[in-house]
């Protein structure tokens, strides 16, 4: 039997991997393959299931690629296997086989508790489950997860992000009982509870009770306590789907699962099993890596090979609710005579355990919670000698040490800049109320950034409240609001404030939410309710000036412009009598337009091929450039070409604050890229990327982030930088302050964006791809829509009357606002940075 009809039951991750492995090797096309899938979706990445709540679409998770040689029958579950006739029966017919591969996976185990059939009770297994959870969560306040293992904590994080006050109930006395030991579990619990998730450990759930509306309302625990929950996720473990095999009379493993040998074959020589449904020599493996190994084994065997299952590596490292958790080897120390070395640091909240052989020379396994940076080294060392003394291996990198509040006054907190606790306390007493202020007046934390957590602790110790509340209407900061909007799929301010805030909003929270909605690509900024949230600049897509008139800035990508376009700008300025000035960002600003003139001006500009320059928005402004290698004797790269490409890629991207960029064609840096949020400087072999620069109020040179990048790698890194900034920065926080306030500073940013330490990069890349694909010119969209155009009048009852208060004098040959004789136009005093005495 090395060819013929092959039926695969199941199109999950392992089933799909198996088909791909077989097809890749079956060059002679010996097998005709039919795949029967229960779900209506082809295979998708279940490991990244939770990314669905991060806005990753079902398509992004898709693992299936079309293959003409495979008949994929979705929504057609196998009902029975007739081994005598060698057919698989489904609702629509019979599928004969010469070989049959069971890849039925597992199902969520739902314990036999009263009430699990109530509406509002879910499992966490499929995309449909997640969509149903999100739908049910809308407008509800509390949620609970039964099960505190890996999946349970993932589900808890999802509920938390959906805005529910979340509880976790775990029967074992600690969280993640399979992976971590008791002390690690205790540390994990501290992290989880700090995120606002309530944990109930060592207690069973005895029943689920309905609320007044008939959907689930509460959990009853075995110790008599009651936990309110409008939504319940059951994540109490998984069970192999072995019912087909059982009904067909095939032997099962001692704890269920289709019993197979090391070659993954069942007792029937024509039937094989792969993935979570297979009990390989009696043991089921619930991780994807061993599942893929079984897929490879069976693909090899069906083509005449003799591969055997290599054994499962159960080492895991993951980030749950923002906490690093890793376990590897003999994590629980069950080897005879083994020794534990443990390290617990309540200050940095890191827990680590190494399991050593009885002579303390060989590493057998371990557990890491809070800081898993040593995981790659340690996992690689299992079974061999220790690479370093245990404490050196376990001490957290760059450890911030114990609580800074306990330090003596003379202790140096920032060793890079020799700043003592006394200096910092003096700055706090002098009115510094947050980390950026402390940095500004003491320079502490401005170099390596590792002391930033201690700055926060000192502020705490001094009793300076670090409220993250945006304003009186929202208790959360911008980052959390962004997550709530993104994860819950909220599309209007009224829904957001009704479910997560109070009152009617204000000039602080409304533009923030408008910006978040725009960053998430929810349509034109002037559509529906969104129009009422916008600052006047975004509302009229122009910049308000002191006399009530507006200025207009068309986009001139990279500062490159044709004579024809230059002439159009000149003609428009002349015809509408606008004051004209070249900006610092290599564009042309046209001043003195009344609101009813804006559409007329833009009609001319759009017809000539211009589009919005977003000078009015918290968005990408310009990408300035020097003339570069095309003309310049010193240039080494085409800086203008790159600047144009970057500007067109990121145009219209709404952010917490404006974004500026520049590209210099050589190290002479004529484009002043190091004063920009992201600046690029050409090298002989590629591009250097600088981030976090700032001109203006508090000038700051950008930091070198990565060197000698290809154009492709550069763009990918900027993509990630921008989306990460948009998702996590505070309101009106420029990239400079954002990086300065970040725990771990630039190194942390590099680990997230380059090394993907948070596993976010795929999502960040996808988010930018959505932005690029969804861009359209806001001004063109307005001109095409009478409803949007209607707003552009000075007076609702006199649409043809120009605002009589806008009048001009002439200065140096151009119109300028008339100075009021009443002296009412006063200069506004900005608080310039003072010199501390």
């Amino acid at each position: 039997m090395s060819g013929g009809r092959l039926v695969v039951v199941g199109n999950g991750m392992v089933g799909q991997r198996f088909v791909e492995a077989l097809r890749a090797r079956d060059q002679e096309r010996r097998w005709r393959v039919t795949v029967l899938g229960e779900e209506r979706r082809p295979a998708y990445d279940r490991v990244r299931l939770s990314a669905f709540f991060d806005g990753v679409s079902a398509e992004d998770l898709n693992l299936h690629s079309p293959d003409d040689g495979v008949e994929l029958r979705l929504g057609e579950p196998a009902l029975a296997v007739d081994r005598a006739r060698r057919i698989v029966r489904t609702a629509s017919g019979e599928h004969p086989y010469d070989a049959l591969v069971l890849a039925t996976g597992s199902s969520a185990f739902v314990p036999p508790i009263d009430g699990t059939d109530l509406p509002g009770v879910f499992v966490y297994r499929t995309l449909d489950d997640l969509a149903a959870i999100r739908a049910h969560a809308a407008g509800r306040r509390t949620g609970a997860v039964i099960g505190g293992g890996l999946l349970g904590l993932e589900a808890a994080n999802a509920l938390r992000l959906l805005g529910l006050a979340t509880s976790v109930v775990e029967f074992a006395p600690r969280l993640m009982p399979v992976q971590v030991d008791e002390a690690g579990g205790a540390m994990l619990r501290r992290y989880v509870e700090e995120l606002g998730v309530t944990t109930y450990l060592g207690v069973a759930t005895s029943a689920l009770r309905p609320g007044p509306d008939g959907t689930v309302g509460a959990l009853e625990l075995a110790d008599g306590r009651t936990v309110g929950a409008d939504l319940v996720v059951v994540a109490a473990g998984i069970r192999p789907r072995d019912e087909l095999a059982r009904a067909a009379g095939l032997p099962l493993g001692p704890r269920g699962g289709v019993l197979v040998d090391a070659g993954c074959r069942t007792a029937d020589e024509r039937i094989w099993a792969v993935g979570e449904c297979a009990a390989v020599e009696g043991t089921c493996h619930g991780l994807v890596a061993p599942g893929y190994a079984t897929a490879e084994v069976v693909a090899d065997r069906l083509l005449g090979g003799a591969a055997t299952f290599p054994g499962a590596d159960t080492a895991t490292k993951l980030k749950l609710l923002g906490v690093d958790v890793a376990s590897f080897g003999d994590a629980h120390g069950v080897s005879p005579g083994c020794l534990d070395v443990t390290f617990t640091d309540p200050a940095t909240r890191a827990y680590a355990k190494l399991v050593l052989s009885d002579d303390a020379t060989t590493l057998l396994g371990g557990v890491l919670v809070g800081d898993a940076s040593a995981y790659p080294t340690l996992r690689a060392s299992v079974g061999g000698p220790l690479p370093a003394p245990p404490l050196a291996l376990l001490a957290p990198a760059g450890g911030a040490g114990a609580g800074a509040g306990a330090l003596p006054a003379a202790a140096q907190v920032c060793s890079c800049n020799a700043v003592t606790r006394a200096d910092l306390d003096a700055a706090i007493a002098g009115g510094a109320t947050d980390v950026p202020a402390l940095k500004a007046c003491t320079r502490a934390g401005t170099s390596c950034g590792s002391c930033v957590p201690m700055l926060k602790q000192l502020l705490d110790a001094a009793g300076v409240a670090q409220s993250r509340a945006l304003c009186e209407h929202f208790d959360t900061g911008r980052q959390e609001l962004f997550d709530i909007v993104r994860v819950r799929g909220i599309r209007t301010f009224s829904q957001l404030i009704a479910e997560h805030g109070r009152g009617r909003g204000c000039d602080i929270c409304k533009p923030v939410v408008a910006s978040i909605l725009a960053s998430l690509g929810t349509g034109h900024v002037l559509d529906g309710e969104q129009a009422s949230l916008q600052d006047t600049n975004d509302h009229f897509l122009a910049n308000l000036q002191r006399d009530g008139s507006y200025s207009v800035v068309p986009r001139i990508p990279g500062g490159e412009i044709t004579p024809e376009k230059l002439i159009v700008i000149g003609e428009v300025a002349r015809d509408f009598r606008l004051y004209t000035k070249i900006t610092g960002g290599q564009r042309i600003d046209l001043f003195g337009a009344r609101v009813e003139q804006l559409p007329q001006i833009w009609r001319r500009l759009v017809d000539a091929g211009f589009e919005s320059g977003h000078a009015y928005g918290k968005a990408l402004r310009t990408v300035k450039s020097c003339v570069g290698a095309t003309w310049c004797r010193y240039g080494v790269q085409d800086s203008v070409g790159l600047a144009v490409a970057l500007e067109l890629r990121y145009r219209g991207l709404r952010a917490p604050h404006k974004l500026k960029s520049a590209v210099s064609g050589c190290a002479r840096e004529c484009a002043e890229a190091r004063s920009k949020d992201f600046g690029v400087i050409a090298t002989e072999t590629g591009w250097n990327l600088y981030v976090g620069g700032n001109g203006g109020f508090r000038p700051r040179h950008a930091d070198l982030f990565a060197t000698d990048l290809s154009t492709e790698a550069l763009i990918q890194l900027i993509d990630r930088f921008l989306i990460y900034y948009i998702r996590t920065a505070d309101r009106l926080q420029r990239t400079a302050a954002w990086i300065e306030a970040m725990d771990g500073g630039l190194d942390h940013l590099r680990s997230v964006l380059v090394d993907d330490s948070l596993g976010l990069c795929a999502d960040l890349d996808a988010a930018m791809a959505r932005h690029v694909a969804g861009y359209s010119d806001e001004w063109r969209d307005v001109l095409e829509d009478p409803e949007r155009l209607r707003r552009f009048t000075s007076f609702v009852n006199a649409p043809d009357v120009p605002d009589p208060s806008i009048t001009f004098a002439v200065e140096r040959g151009q119109p300028v606002p008339t100075r009021g004789a009443d002296g009412r136009r006063q200069p506004v005093a900005l608080g310039l940075p003072g010199v501390r005495r």
């Binding site: 009186e472 209407h473 009152g503 009617r504 909003g505 204000c506 000039d507 929270c509 409304k510 533009p511 309710e529 129009a531 009422s532 949230l533 600052d535 006047t536 509302h539 009229f540 308000l544 002191r546 006399d547 009530g548 000075s794 007076f795 609702v796 009852n797 006199a798 009357v801 605002d803 208060s805 806008i806 009021g820 009443d822 009412r824 136009r825 006063q826 506004v828």
Partner: protein
């Protein structure tokens, strides 16, 4: 003279909720707002910045009071009294406003 006559300005549905418009009433620029069920009319003149821009401010609430923020420098005013909540001795002049037969009508008030 304390009050003038009522002037019809526009149909009610021309006012978007929580977003202002300006109207010209007897040569005076008036900023009109519709919030929920309420209508408000105040001077369009920003008493601090001196420009006719108040109709373009963001409407909201502070401690239960309906508010309007200047689009120039963000001073917040109580729409019910016109009082500035951020600066002492600064206020917006209020005008009378009502809805009759689907039309918004304004009556100017002189100095209070």
């Amino acid at each position: 003279m304390r009050t003038l006559d009522w002037t019809a300005v526009c149909p009610l549905d021309r006012l978007d909720p929580d977003r202002g418009v300006a109207a010209l009433v007897d040569g005076v620029q008036v900023a009109l707002f519709r919030t929920g069920d309420e209508l408000y009319a105040v001077d369009n003149l920003d008493p601090v910045g001196g420009a006719q821009v108040m109709s373009r401010g963001i409407v909201g609430s502070r401690g239960g009071l309906p508010t309007l923020a200047s689009p120039l420098h963000k001073q917040v005013y109580d729409l019910t009294t016109g009082r500035c909540l951020d600066l002492p001795d600064v206020a917006l002049r209020r005008h009378d406003v009502r809805c009759r037969d689907g039309l918004v009508e304004v009556r100017l008030r002189q100095e209070e």
